[in-house]
Symmetry: C2
DNA sequence: CTGAAAGCGCTAACAT
DNA sequence: ATGTTAGCGCTTTCAG
């Protein structure tokens, strides 16, 4: 409570001394009481309790022991999507006694590279990363990491090691197919800062490719240079409808946040959904489904992605980290037939 | 990519050798190029780049260097509330180059204690914890931590070191005052597993205390033994209305998730809000405000709590961790005048 | 500004 | 089942 130099924490050697055994025996007793006589284990544990001994994993890991830390690099935490992924990661890591060490790249490749260095400098047991246009230096770091690495969110990539996610190209394509089937003709797209969010761009590419294969095309595209948000989507739709030569009959938004904004604009302008205008999003967020008319969108298994990624790391750690051929896990997406398209 | 024993990573001494300086000089050059001649700094940096040297902070921290890891213990990530707090923490930690090391207690005091031990064994620079009925062992551990500790969410506590949050007692009391003022007479409460969620219980206490001070009381209370959710709130209200001798005219829910469920029940049963029944929640979640009739609730500054907590840790680290008197930061709450009460 | 010595606290490897 | 030896890779003193 008061000032003064911090009293040194009790060390293993002190525990050993009190228990009347060697340091290494104390170490074994504390880590895996099975590798030691019951009596010894008890003595050591008592000594440790008496001293208030607290294991120092810095020393342990430096000496070659295992780490239970896993680096986790995500682009943002403002977006519920990544909070969901983190939840999924925690689900499995927590049970296995592993702890995520978090870094947020803010969609910035330079920052991401710095984070990779930073987290690797703690010699974690593994690394999970949702890449943001990774630099080649980043890829090189990951390739030579020496521990399992999982790139998450997108499987339309050439993974450094393993990857878990969905095909964003496929998701865009499927939505295009659905909308074409519904008979829509005048397609528009409203997106957020797509330069940074590569996965949104990939969806758009899948979307337009499918339109074109069907002899259709985007009649209007609006890309706003800001992070996605409900407000941005709302203003975006207002702007698009104001500026477009001919009103679209359906708008594909870069994600659900944006799309919900679009729905709100329609509500306030008395544009009836989906007759006057149809709207589609991506992610399958709860808020979209809680709307009076649930949003038509693509459900992405975000929690699942986290769980699978954690599972992949843990599995490899159990297998002694013998890197097999690069592995790709597609958790799949689902078309959510809402009422807006 | 292929098997084989992992090649040892380059060490500082190798960098030093190539640069033609001593190990310690190389160390200084890499950490703080200002404490060394420009030329030396350049030579060392080149050598490091050439070797692909990656700092080993395990060794650094063990040798007495600073850590940039901060333990963060939260009860859950399923609840958006804690994702928001984590976002706030990241906002400041990321900029300062610090990384949260995450543990999820699942509202379990035993698990929380294990997590505290586990995270402390990495000798972090600080610890942020949203306590869950902490055991006395947990409190003892935190008290002797030797680094800054912030207990978050609630300021109605006696903090081990510092705390950041709001008064949950006050929040409950204010909502009671508001509802009394509105003229409601028959008050009911619907809560989730309150044994585990102490803060919800504290709000309830503030609520009932205020009712009683005004000569009123809760006419019905329903506490469900499960984590809070929209579905639980919906079923809860159905049950309460079914079983209550006399229908309440207002229901205070343990939080917004629950309250939104209540609103959904009313929608499907054509119970008009707030005339036939009024509803109030807690948190000010986006989903509650996105409802056709926005939810009357208490806004909690969750992101702010995270930011302030991170700020408090960083400040103390800058001040050389000279623990001043225990500090308590109240970020305050706001009554959200929605349309449901 | 640079260096030499010493050691942080622990665990793997090899005995016994 | 337990102990001995050695060293992980770095940084903190303390000197120059």
């Amino acid at each position: 409570m008061q000032g003064g130099k911090p009293p040194r924490k009790p060390t293993l050697s002190q525990v050993a001394q009190i228990a009347g055994v060697s340091e290494i025996t104390a170490s074994r007793a504390l880590r895996d009481s099975a590798s030691v006589t019951q009596g010894t284990a008890r003595k050591v544990q008592e000594a440790a309790a008496q001293l208030g001994y607290l294991r120092n994993r810095l020393a342990g890991a430096l000496a070659g022991g295992p780490s239970n830390q896993v680096g986790v690099i995500l682009p943002s935490l403002a977006n519920i999507v990544f909070a969901d992924v983190l939840k999924g990661l925690e689900d499995h890591f927590e049970d296995a006694g592993f702890h995520p060490v978090l870094g947020i790249s803010n969609y910035d490749p330079q920052r991401e590279e710095r984070l990779i260095r930073d987290l690797m400098s703690w010699r974690p047991a593994g690394l999970v990363i949702a890449p943001s246009n990774s630099t080649s230096a980043s890829r090189k770091l990951l390739a030579g990491a020496g521990f399992p690495v999982v790139e998450i969110m997108d499987v339309d990539i050439d993974p450094v090691d393993m990857c878990v996610g969905i095909s964003h190209h496929g998701a865009g394509a499927e939505m295009a197919r659905h909308l074409i089937e519904r008979g829509y003709k005048r397609f528009a797209y409203i997106g957020h800062d797509i330069v940074r969010d590569q996965r949104a761009l990939t969806r758009l590419n899948g979307f337009t490719a499918t339109l074109e294969a069907a002899g259709q095309s985007l009649s209007a595209t609006l890309t706003l240079d800001a992070p996605s948000s409900v407000t941005l989507g709302r203003n975006g739709l207002a702007q698009l409808l104001r500026e477009a030569d001919q009103a679209p009959d359906v708008v594909y938004f870069s994600n659900d946040d944006m799309a919900v904004g679009g729905v709100f604009h329609c509500m306030s302008e008395n544009i009836s959904l989906p007759d006057q205008l149809a709207i589609a999003g991506f992610n399958g967020l709860e808020i979209g489904q809680a709307l009076p008319v649930p949003l038509t969108t693509t459900g992405s298994n975000r929690v699942r992605i986290g769980q699978k990624a954690a599972g992949a790391i843990l599995q490899r750690l159990k297998d002694g980290n013998t890197a097999p051929a690069a592995q790709s896990i597609d958790v799949g997406f689902t078309l959510v037939h809402g009422g807006t398209a």
